[in-house]
């Protein structure tokens, strides 16, 4: 799974938590999950759980606290899934 695939999966998970779909139009690696997409911060836990289920990884609470942008999530997950899977 390459980063583009991870990016698409991550956005696919997060989009259901975005009330205003227009905020997803120019989503990129720098997009802030809370500030740009206006995701309710209380729901980040659900997004992390969805990442864990989708990518079959465990995300520690301290690591989750550092995920602020789409790119943070993509890079963190890419690191977790390992080099064997990182390159298609």
């Amino acid at each position: 799974m390459d980063k583009e695939q991870i990016f698409n999966e991550v956005v696919g998970i997060i989009k259901d938590y975005v009330k205003d779909p227009s905020r997803l139009e120019n989503v990129n690696m720098e997009t802030s999950i809370l500030e740009d997409l206006k995701v309710n911060s209380a729901r980040l836990v659900d997004i992390i759980i969805a990442f864990e289920d989708t990518f079959d990884v465990e995300i520690e609470d301290d690591d989750a606290d550092n995920i602020r942008t789409i790119g943070d999530a993509v890079n963190y997950i890419a690191g977790k899934v390992g080099t064997d899977q990182a390159v298609k």
């Binding site: 259901d16 009330k19 836990v45 659900d46």
Partner: protein, 426 residues
């Protein structure tokens, strides 16, 4: 002088119909919403029938933005939300957008009987017991909290007045109306969404099945199972759903030219205190009679002004006692009792939603001048023979019915009663 309160909007999710138009038709037809429920058979329930709103998932898209949003909600809350949004729209009010400010004059009292046992049983308990509490996510509390229904309704409708949930077992739905009416009367709110909801779950119904208070002899003939006032009634049929009423200060309703269904002229809620035969599961007859008389006094009416009664009438052994309590409260002989019917004969006992759905039924009957049949009591209970001519067993055109009494009685020896008056101008 206190404000007068009128019903200007209604919404209903019932086992025999979803939406006001089809619900009205179902009432006219005497349509049963009771079905065989395979899951109850698999779980070895004695009662394997129930009333569950049909095809509800198909209409949910009209209320919630996407599938995931729906999955965040419990069934109880989805029923409550759909009924409330419908009531709001039916009253001619626009559903606000996310950027609109709260409506500080509008609130809600919306309850449920037993929270959402399905979520507790299928998600909370297994996950916690497996030591996976961190995987529960953030959606558990809002789905099982006692105020889950009102909290969700408040957000959907942007309510800025009091948003709260009541719970008084089978009296919940009508008690919500009592509380909302008092709020408006006192001038503390202009509009209140009042109602009740209950999800369908074997885990909710299991305790009743074990108490042997559910109908267990009609698994082969579900539509015959809910038999209030019948000689062969042997327990209630569990049901689920929700109903909401938009209650409004009369002056506010008139100012905006709202369509008015009915006026809530009298309300009362009380308890029998578990005395004089009352208990956790049985009503103190004096408490019941005082509740009915209290509502009449609140409305300022005498017995002869009540044209019809929508009873609590569940199809347990208590039905004859209830009918006799009505006669005693109204101080009439059996043949003088107002017309009486039971909506539960068609939809079963929807617990926390019962009082709300049945009050909507009563308001529709008043507005459209009919009385719905109380089905499945062709073999009237022998103790009710003297009342035989007063039990509405067939659809009846009823233009002369102007005032109806609606009461509910719940576990805990709690009672609530409403006096509803057809709106014919001031």
């Amino acid at each position: 002088m206190q404000n007068r309160v009128v019903v200007t909007g209604m919404g209903v999710v019932s086992p025999n119909a979803i939406g006001l138009a089809d619900f009205t038709q179902a009432l006219r037809e005497g349509r049963s919403g009771i079905r065989f429920i395979p899951r109850l058979e698999e779980l070895k329930f004695a009662c394997q029938i129930g009333g569950i709103p049909r095809n509800f998932d198909e209409v949910c898209g009209d209320y919630f933005n996407n599938h995931r949003q729906q999955s965040f909600l419990s069934e109880t809350i989805r029923y409550a939300a759909a009924a409330s949004v419908d009531a709001w729209k039916d009253a001619g009010l626009a559903v606000p957008g996310d950027e609109d400010p709260p409506d500080w004059d509008s609130g809600t009292v919306f309850g449920c009987g037993i929270s959402d046992m399905e979520v507790i049983a299928t998600e909370v308990v297994p996950t916690v017991n497996a030591g996976k509490v961190r995987r529960l996510g953030t959606r558990v509390v809002e789905r099982v909290m006692g105020s889950g229904t009102s909290a969700r309704i408040g957000g959907l409708l942007g309510l800025g007045n009091q948003v709260t949930s009541n719970s008084s077992a089978c009296s919940t739905g009508s008690e919500a109306v009592v509380e909302a009416v008092r709020k408006i009367r006192s001038g503390l709110a202009k509009r209140m969404v009042a109602g009740g909801a209950e999800g369908a779950s074997p885990y909710t119904w299991s305790g009743f099945d074990s108490m042997r208070v559910l109908a267990r002899k009609f698994n082969e003939t579900p539509e015959k199972g809910s038999r209030p006032m019948s000689a062969t009634a042997n327990g209630f049929v569990p049901g689920a759903g929700a109903a909401a009423m938009l209650l409004e200060d009369l002056d506010t309703a008139l100012d905006r030219g709202a369509r008015i269904y009915a006026e809530v002229t009298g309300v009362m809620a009380n308890s029998g205190g578990h005395r004089n035969g009352g208990s956790m599961t049985a009503p103190n007859p004096e408490g019941v009679q005082r509740c009915i008389r209290g509502a009449m006094a609140d409305a300022g009416i005498d017995t002869e002004e009540i044209d019809a009664i929508n009873g609590h009438l569940t199809a347990t052994f208590a039905d004859p006692h209830e009918v006799k309590n009505w006669a005693a409260a109204l101080e009439v002989q059996p043949d003088q009792l107002p017309w009486i019917n039971s909506t539960k004969s068609m939809i079963g006992h929807c617990l926390g939603a019962a009082g709300a759905i049945e009050t909507v039924a009563a308001v529709l009957e008043l507005e459209q001048e009919f009385l719905h049949p109380s089905i499945n009591c062709e073999d009237l209970h022998p103790e009710l023979e003297a009342f035989a001519d007063r039990v509405v067993r067939e659809y009846k055109q009823a233009p002369a019915v102007k005032t109806m009494a609606k009461a509910c009685f719940g576990f805990g020896d709690v009672n609530s009663c409403l006096i509803l008056r057809k709106w014919e101008g001031q």
